[in-house]
Amino acid sequence: MSKLYDEYRRLRWESALAQLRWLHSLIGPVIWPLAALAILLIFNIVFTDNFLKIVITDGRLSGYLVDIFRDGSAVMLVALGMTLVIATGGVDLSVGAVMAISAVVSASMVTPSWLESALGPWAVQMFENSFGMWLAVLIATSLIAALIAGAWNGFLVSVLRIQPIIATLILMVAGRGVAQLICEGQIFTYDVPQLAYIGKGTLIGLPFGVWLVGLMIMATYLLTRRTALGLMIEAVGDSDLASHYTGIRARTIKFLVYVFCGFCAGLAGLIESTNVSSANANQIGLWYELDAIFAVVVGGTALTGGRFLIFGTVIGALLIQTLTITMTIQKVPPEVALIPKALVIVLVCLLQSQTFRQKVFGRFKKKPAAALSAATPANSAGGEA
């Protein structure tokens, strides 16, 4: 009887341990960004009224927490694509410009005057008569434009073997020029609720963009972790020569991640511009490449390539968006807001470095013992040691 009970207890203990281990493998790598996010949320809960409050108005949820997800969806998308690029040891600086291209393409195609002059009267007719179809064509066209941009980057990096930072810098600069060419320097604004739905609409209580991002995150996770693609990307990022020797198509994989990154940026551009029903080639996606790189790095994926963490990137993007919103709530002027933002990012990155942690915390480690032996409260012992 008691033997059985012991066995039962042992099994329970083991399964609890296994669960803990599973939790550790899930959270372990992202513990620092997660901690930073938690601290930031606690700060807001204490200092901001109604921070946690979510109300339902007209069938949609609203509140600060929803705002974080809604406003952060574009960065999250871009960061998602960036994660895979960085995992191969590259970087894509052109994502902001690609966002602008896809935004301008979509906005121009619902502007009758542009359609008339650029494509001819048939386009205007089609826009007016078979609108549903036109909408599909329009979305497809903007995403294809983004795919082409991604393929261009991929071509430069994997076929011509130009350093990623330079290769994508080309499109970062030239891409906005391309967007300007398409819109001929104008800022398109439109009133097409069906198109605006992508950025502004609500589906089952949540912004449509949030669903879209969730879907993309899920799809990316499945595509990389339920197939062998993720492992191949990590292998190529860690050592592309050794991967080549192992029969992995390193160049193809590199090409594809840039295409994917372009696609994500295109989708983000659609969300951003349809949210405000306009497209300004100079403003859409400005500095998004930096936020996206921050999100990836803060999320635990190293710029040197190799291991990547999709979950980490999501946390990283949320952290950055929460920071931005906190600054807005605290009425910090936008120019100054960049400083605390930078500080938090530097701090999280430092915390992720084992060497840094050892240097800083290693010093404190001896103190508790000393404090105990001196029988003084731990918090007052800090000064003496």
């Binding site: 693609l229 990590e234 050592s239 050794a242 020797y245 192992t246 029969g247 992995i248």
Partner: protein
């Protein structure tokens, strides 16, 4: 030249000791170099040649011993300091800036100046004069990279000589040159020698040593073996001294090997290479590999062994000749294609081209199989674990667990992980390029044993090693290479370290049966 050696000696190095953490790189070596001679410094990898050069050029400070230049004690503290003492060096990799002009390269760091400004005209004039000394006439304002590697090499020499050099050190200067370019370089060395310059020539090409050098100094494992007039040191003796075997010992070993090679291999021909070659790398390689046979590729470093393996595995595809697999012509253009043909290869450079350092043991082992199955057919977590555990156990890989990062394993265990990676795809031909380099004796023996077991199961193995003894021990047949050519083959009872060295030492590439008289 009837002076006594003491008067002639320009550079006298004696008893140089240099220790690095854990390694005694130089253990009291001597070197005497006379005015107007080309002195070859020979030794296998790790013999201490490079370390000595670094000591002479002031990169390393020796722990003991002395260097005398014209009888005067010197202690170079930097390459620039060494140059001012009359010691100039031209390294294997051309140490110039390809995007700058010839004149700029020649005057870099010592531009003629006027009030702090560079006098380009004077620089060009000086450059032309420096080149004239070597009988070269180049357009000095053209970009250096627009000239061939050989010319760039000569420019590097011209630069080295421009500083009143008395001693010129040439470290593997011919390794990237083709035959005609080598001729030009050797002719230039001859001219400089007649001008009274001392040249220290470090190379792996034995032919070139015999063509140009007056004397040879041999190092082995950081120690001084001896100094010999070139004319009095037959090739076989030289090689014997480099690898540390005297000729008598080699012959007794031969008897042992004969016993081992009695085993007849009567498999079908699996791979047949005919006239395989690639521009600027290797030529005329031809051999058969039978099923269940181990074929060794032997030769000194730089003889073309690795290049041959890379041609077979599609890393650097062959541009002439054919490869036949089961009698049908195949031409692997990439490792991926080679893998699909059933080839596998563990590369010589294990760290850069073998392991994926930051992935786990499990992931490293599963990688080749996964890559052959393709992205969509992912090995399940269970299959991955089983595969990893299977090879960790079968090969005795010492690792705390299968999730350990491969970079944390020792060299021998990393090598075993690579073997496991390829064994997982059950290759028909397994190319092992230096599988035992830098690993401990125990792991070495295990790998040799594994090779024997695999061939018994019908796998064919191409075994490459710079240790001739190891090649002789493991191979049923040995393809011998020298200076980027195949010089012959040894089969069955003929296979022995002595026979391999003998073949390498032969003058003409048509491999005869008689040994060089020693």
């Amino acid at each position: 030249m009837s002076n006594t050696p003491a008067e002639q000696a320009m550079l006298q190095v004696s008893g140089i000791v240099k220790t690095f953490p854990g390694v005694r790189a130089l253990d009291g070596v001597d070197l005497t170099l006379r005015r107007g001679e080309v002195h070859a410094l020979m030794g296998e990898n790790g013999a201490g040649k490079s370390t000595l050069i670094k000591v002479l050029t002031g990169v390393h400070v020796p722990d003991g011993g002395e260097i005398r230049m014209d009888g005067k004690l010197i202690q170079p503290t930097s390459p620039r300091d060494a140059e001012s003492q009359g010691i100039s060096t031209v390294y294997q990799e051309v140490n110039l800036i390809p995007s700058m002009s010839v004149a700029e390269n020649l005057c870099l760091g010592r531009f003629p100046k006027l009030v702090g400004l560079i006098r380009l005209g004077a620089a060009k004039k000086r450059a032309r004069e420096a080149l004239k000394r070597l009988d070269m006439d180049l357009d000095v304002s053209r970009q250096l990279s627009s000239y061939s590697l050989a010319v760039q090499q000569m420019v590097a020499i011209a630069r080295a000589l421009d500083t009143d050099a008395k001693l010129l050190i040439l470290d593997e200067p011919t390794s990237s040159l083709d035959e005609q370019e080598v001729d030009e370089l050797l002719a230039m060395m001859d001219r400089l020698r007649k001008e009274g310059l001392g040249i220290l020539f470090v190379t792996h090409f034995i032919d070139q040593v015999y063509r140009i050098s007056d004397r040879i100094t041999v190092f082995r494992n950081g120690g001084f073996v001896g100094e010999y007039p070139t004319a009095e040191l037959p090739r076989l003796k030289l090689i014997g001294k480099m690898v540390g075997k005297d000729v008598a010992a080699l012959e007794t070993q031969e008897a042992d090997a004969k016993a081992r090679h009695g085993r007849a291999v009567a498999g079908q021909t699996l791979v047949k290479a005919e006239g395989l070659g690639r521009r600027n790398t290797v030529h005329d390689v031809q051999f058969d590999i039978q099923q269940g046979q181990t074929v060794g590729l032997a030769g000194l470093l730089g003889s073309g062994r690795t290049e041959t393996a890379k041609m077979l595995f599609g890393v650097d595809p062959a541009d002439v000749g054919t490869i036949k697999l089961d009698g049908e012509q195949v031409s692997p253009r990439s490792p991926r294609e080679a893998m699909r043909l059933g080839f596998a290869m563990t590369p010589e450079d294990r760290k850069a081209a073998g392991i994926i350092p930051n992935l786990s043991v499990r992931e490293n082992i599963m990688l080749a199989l996964q890559s052959r199955r393709g992205i969509w057919y992912r090995l399940s977590a269970k299959e991955q674990r089983e595969l990893a555990d299977k090879y960790i156990e079968a090969l005795g890989i010492k690792t705390p667990d299968r999730e350990q990062l491969v970079k944390n394993l020792s060299g021998g265990n990393q090598q075993k992980v690579l073997l496991g990676r390829w064994l997982a795809i059950e290759p028909r031909l397994f190319i092992l390029d230096e599988p035992t380099r830098g690993i401990d004796v125990g792991a070495k023996a295990q790998i040799e044993k594994l090779v024997g077991e695999l061939t018994e199961q019908g796998m064919s193995i191409l075994f490459i090693s710079s240790e001739m003894e190891e090649v002789a021990r493991t191979s049923d047949r040995v393809v011998v290479m020298r200076d980027h050519h195949q010089v012959g083959q040894l089969e069955g009872e003929e296979v022995s370290e002595h026979a391999i060295l003998n073949m390498i030492a032969k003058h003409d590439s048509s491999a005869g049966k008689e040994a060089v008289d020693v």
